[in-house]
Amino acid sequence: MGGFVGLTIAKKALIANQVAMETIGHNIANANTPGYSRQRVELKESLPDSTPWGAKGTGVDVDDIIRIRDSYLDVQLRNETNELGMWDEKEKFLARVELYFNEPSDTGLANTMERFWNAWQEVAYMPEEQTSRNSLYQDAVSLVTGITDLYNNLESLRTDADTALKAQIKKINSLADSIASLNSQIRYYEVGDATANDLRDQRDQKLAELADLIDYEVSEQPDGTVIVSVGGVNLVDKLDTEDMGYRYNSDGHLDPYWTYNNGSVSVSSGRLYGITNTRDSLIPQYKEIIDDIAEKIISEVNKLHTSGYGLSAFTSLTSQYDISDSTAVLASSSSGLDFYDEIQDGSFTMTVVDSSGNETENTISISASATSGTTLNSLISTIGSSFSTGIAHVRASVSSEGYLTIESDTGYSFYVNNDTSNALMALGLNVFFKGSGADDMDIADPIDNNVNNIAASSSGEVGDGIVALNISALKDSKLMDSNSATITDYYGSSLGVLGVAKKEATDMKNSQEILVTHIKNSIEEISGVSIDEEAMDLIKYQHAYAAAAQFLKTIDQMLDELINGIRR
């Protein structure tokens, strides 16, 4: 051995310092790679030789190349990213809900509703003026459009959520695949003693991306792979994955499910939950509010409207609500009427007018009795299915779609009103609105055709606007929240609820963002690449390398002297 030991020491020094410098190069190269942890070469002294003079050093060895990472911070990052993802989705969707409500403004629903009620006031004292009737009609159209647009926009927001959900599920599946394949590579590399630094960085990065989407439990196995469990199901089980799919639920929207057993996916945080939670419980809450308001306006306005007379009598009038079973009691759900539960014992008046204006008043009794109550058929036979039967000069019939039509003989016309039974309101005869909620609310056909059919008069006289006056007073009636709030109050406080939800989402999102940034900085503080630090190390190893080279040269000269200088 003798003099050649020095060569070996020099060689090992050169190699060690070169590896160190290459690692610095790797660090600098990845300074901006997301999820990259800086790496460090761990050097150690080689095993000493035992010599008669004691243990003699034999140089340096590269022990390991490690990545500098605090895995506890990764756990924290995943947890907070999870929350951030959820609140970010909620915030995004609620911001759009707010946008659709468009309040406070001069074009929001609050203003449209008020204009509608106020238009009735003008009809109340100018009932025969076409201008006041037309402006009421216009305001009613704006109200209907305002309500249905808002409702439909909220529903379309739920469809948008489905689209977002599809994209998220695709992303989750692809991330699961990546993690499984990284698992396989890591296991392969780490069979010996090595640590697959860069692969682990990549896997941590994928896990963080996954945490943005769903909440999961992760556990590392002795062979270096991980198991990712979502609500008890292993999304990634070492090298295998379970696919997540999406399918339509009973509500007509998409839900995630596990394709292998058709089980539902249980998540409680992350973007996926943010989307489904917003779609299934937040947005429906606001749709419900609009629907309640629409239903109240339709039923209350119609109840009053059916007590009045239009400017002209009808010659033909078709009900605005259809009946599914003409033998069923009108006041029972099997009649198929939307407002069947409003019908009570009472009566309405059918006044037949002949060509010279003589009126014959007929009172038609309505019974809500469950067993012997009025059915559509019994009502038709009371009115008569021909002009000569039942009430003279009018006849009633039902279409195949279940709509009741009342017609009068040539030269005759008729009014229906003074309804104490709500039967006219439930059937939609002489009503102002049709439909039963925000999705199908509209102006009733007779009024759509002719504003003179707006029944403002309580007596049939043209200057009588008492019914319109009563309808305009609805705006100050406490109709909502078990008769404790006016429609406007109810709407205003609902906006408050929306505001609170949106503000909470924004605040939570912002504070999560700060938290996540903070954790990312802590990770960066430990694992990030500092150019200055690397440059300093570079100098250090460069100097060591130069010195080792110089050492080699010296040994070389030594050997040269020994071999070539000592000649025979």
Binding site: L99, A124, G463, D464, G496, N521
Partner: protein
Amino acid sequence: MRITDRMLFNQSYVNLTAAMDRYSDLQEQMSTGRKINKPSDAPGDMPQVISYRTKIKDIDQYDSNIEYGLSWLSISDNALANVASLLNSAKSIALSQASATADDQTRQSAAQQVDSILNQIVQLSGTKHGNRYLFSGHKTNTVPFSKLTVEGKTVIKYNGDEGAIYVPISSDINVQINKSGKDIFGDPETTISGSNVNATTSPITRDTLLSSLNSGAGVSAGSFIITNGNQTATISVTATGSETIGEVLDAINSAGVNVTAAINSAGTGIDIKSNFSGTTLSVQDTGSTTTAQDLGIVGEKKSQDVFGILIRLKEALLDGDTEELGTVSGLIDSALDEVLQAWVDIGSKEQRLELTKDRLGSEQINYSELLSNTEDADLAELVVNLSREQSLYQGLLKVTAGMLQPSLLDFLR
């Protein structure tokens, strides 16, 4: 603490976006002038904001309702002022022509004057607001009073009803702006209110048998004469025991003398009403029979409304009936009182609406102020904040730009 390059970049990015966020928020407030632009800007204030906004809208509407009411009332006011002055002249005519200095000659020409006064008042009663008759109740498209000649006699017919037209002036107050012709000019339809017929079954209906009247004594057979102005009819009633009240009513109504017979609201007797003003309505038994008396309808009534009085005045002048002239001038006084009462009523309603209008004006200001306090941005504060954010942002930009500082590498050459 280790600080890496990326930490610096990340931090600057976070700071820059946060600053931009605040800046854009302030800019939105600046451009709308409001600090509440969406519900989440101030969730707690939303109910008030919506309520103030709708209140302001409502006040606008009440204001325009009041405008309409005022224009209606002021036209009514003018018409009634003219009616009152015309009635005054009629009264002085009545007084002067009742005196000894008057003779047939002067009464003839006075009758002409009264006729013209009558025409003018009929015309005034037909005053319109736009296309709407003021005094027809709900029958706003029908002239309230029309002058007809029946059998050579001038009569007035009321075509309106007593429907009220209301104008809402606040959430719970509706003011009636119209007065019906009956309210102002008196009931033109003279009525003989029948006495109690003492039926064995009460109340009486159309089907009640005549034999059950007068505690079962019934109605004696015979005939009675109905006179309404120049129209006369004789109604005969037999007493076989099967006659009903309905048959008597129909017989009277179809007698062609423009009267309406009906059972009174209490169901105790029969009311007979003239359809015209300006006539004398009378029901008398013929000969010695007591049919009408048994039915409780014997009597004579003269018109006491404004038109009836004027017609009576004119007829008295033409007839030279000085006694009637005296009666009529007294009646003019009470009719004038009624017209004046209506006039005062309208005046005080005008005043009330004017006061409400003023009050709404100041309420409008109050609500606008409340809304502004809740909803509007404080411009001064906003400008200060905006310029602060602006300089902050510029400072941040400068710092970020300076971040590309030389590293150790730059010195290793």
